[in-house]
Symmetry: C2
Subunit: 342 residues, 2 copies
DNA sequence: TAAAATTTATGAAACGTTTCATAAATATAG
DNA sequence: CTATATTTATGAAACGTTTCATAAATTTTA
């Protein structure tokens, strides 16, 4: 059975197409009687406006794109869900897409979004230089970057206050007596990592202790072997601060394989509070990013850009929380034990 | 700067609009010289065809919808990612959407998909009776149901062989000596749960031992308290089989809080092999659903329906794997220990 | 080389809406 | 009751493609 069109409705309501369109769009210049006829006809015919026709004519679609690298990453999964919530509540619909870690793929996806006349997009680019994503003639396409910002983004950005978060995390570790604190991070070429490293270094410097930075590759296995090397040093750290969720996985695996116990042998503090952190024993202390606020702010900013009342480069920074669980404990315990076993 | 249209290209290539369209769609009836002119013009203008105009005219969009309850569920996150992969490789694009656990919301989403002229959808409905999702006049909208099938689906379905999987899991637990095996599941009103329970019951019956079924609510907390009650019985089971990922979470939490150790005090076998199962200690044995095959098969089936060469109710069942880790062990160990401590 | 057959290019209609200028209907004023 | 102002409804154009009937160009045949 072919789809019903506005034409059928018009016929059935004995009214012009234009009138139908008006009532459907809430135009007040149509009299009650006709309005009712039209509404009745719509109901009887189960009419639903064809959005692609409407988009074509209007030149916008009341929908936005959401582009993240990969939804099997818990952080993005949560973020995407929350953004979708906000957006849908405003009567927009969403087209969610994954860009992976590959610039071309990402570029392809974002263009395909534009080709669908979405009104804008919230993106987490998987690499720096997000402006390169947009074709020359699409300068004015509304975009806000969330989470994966870079130093020179020319779009509004919304991100966690990475520096503040790792500074606070480091501060916490220092405050419970640790001095020998290693941070395990991805390459600082990833701007998030860069910032997280900065916060850590800054606080370490203030405390007058040497930073101990271990850079690892992008895979869980890289993180695991990096941490293993750390543990095998003659003087391993008393605390490890992992800079993201994947690294935390690798670290936990390494600790397990090497029979190193938290928090007695070593304290572990994770960046990104994903679900399983509270399921291992002991629970792992973590920096929790404000995902909900990230989502809300990103959508708010995008709306500003779409409506044209944005200077186009607002930079939002949202504060993170520290969640203390059992994996971090006073350094003395560890030291006692360490001395005992050495 | 306004978007370039096919008209601009035609002008620049000194050629008609129709010709441009032809070369863009690979029509062979256009001579090499013109083809090159057109291609050149496209390049120079950075032309990208407007998909909404194309969709409107063609009456299909070379895109499909993917609808799952919620991507913060690891299983769906993985599934969605894999489906997107397959689909994109075939030159289709995807619109991903979340239906939540609410029928109306879900219905809204699927209609919005239809309103966008997607050519079909792969859905995991969050409740039974998926045919109710489709409006009367949309009978012929191509749909395949993945994972969340129900008894009376009138669409092609693709799912894990739940019965076989829990049968195999139960068999494994029996084979290592357990007789007192409890299954903790959601209500059998969820068809997946129903099937998983069936497999368990069938194998238990074959072995001539009493099944021990605990039905819990849909939340992690429900699962946790269900398991806690189980543990507090005077004669608790020697093995627990959790029927999905959320229940497993609740179970692990309950075991932890009650100081019950795996596998010595109790063996745990989980349905759904999510990432953290290998990060807790000991690693949790699990039934691993064939997500990759689920994705591929669903897309294959949907293509069949779209192309009209499907009878419309193929039911695919894919076998699951058993992954043995440290949480399950021979019942004797537990029994020894149990007797010792009682 | 003219006519017929074939290949290749064109222009206009169509997809289902929204929008805008204008026609029709109704209300207000003189 | 006519003329004018105002409100409400209409019809056609437009959005950017694809497609199809036909025109133009080219090739083949006689």
């Amino acid at each position: 059975m072919a789809r019903k069109t506005i034409k059928h409705v018009a016929e059935r309501a004995s009214v012009s197409i234009g009138t139908v369109s008006k009532v459907l769009n809430g135009d007040p210049t149509v009299k009650a009687r006709l309005r009712e006829q039209v509404l009745a006809a719509c109901g009887e015919l189960e009419y639903r406006p064809n959005q692609v026709a409407a988009s074509l004519r209007r030149q916008h679609s009341k929908s936005i794109g959401i582009l993240v690298p990969d939804v099997s990453n818990t952080f993005y999964a949560e973020l995407v869900g929350l953004i979708e919530d906000c957006v849908t509540k405003s009567g927009y619909s969403t087209i969610i897409t994954f860009g992976g870690e590959n610039p071309e793929k990402m570029q392809g996806r974002i263009r395909s979004l534009m080709d669908r006349d979405v009104d804008g997009a919230i993106i987490s680019p998987s690499f720096n230089g997000s402006e390169l994503l947009i074709p020359e003639n699409g300068n004015s396409f509304p975009i806000v970057v969330v989470d994966r910002i870079s130093a020179q983004d020319s779009f509004p950005t919304v991100a966690t206050d990475n520096v503040g978060a790792t500074r606070a995390g480091t501060d916490y570790l220092l405050s419970i007596g640790h001095r020998n604190i290693a941070m395990v991070s991805n390459s600082p070429e990833i701007y998030n990592s860069f910032e997280r490293i900065e916060g850590y270094k800054a606080r370490m410097a203030e405390a007058g202790v040497e930073p101990d930075l271990v850079i690892v590759g992008m895979s869980e296995a890289d993180a695991e072997s990096g941490v293993t090397k750390l543990l095998q040093r003659s003087n391993p750290p008393s605390a490890i601060f992992t800079a993201d969720h994947l690294i935390t996985k690798g670290a936990v695996r390494s600790l397990q394989k090497n029979g190193v116990r938290m928090p007695h042998d070593i304290s572990l503090l994770a960046f990104d509070d994903v679900d399983w952190l509270s399921l291992v024993e002991p629970g792992i202390s973590a920096i929790r990013q404000p995902t909900g606020q990230l989502a809300e702010t990103a959508w708010y900013q995008l709306q500003q850009v779409i409506q044209g009342n944005s200077n186009g480069n607002t930079k939002s920074r949202l504060p993170a929380d520290l969640v203390v669980r059992g994996s971090t404990a006073s350094a003395t315990i560890k030291n006692l034990k360490a001395t005992g076993t050495q």
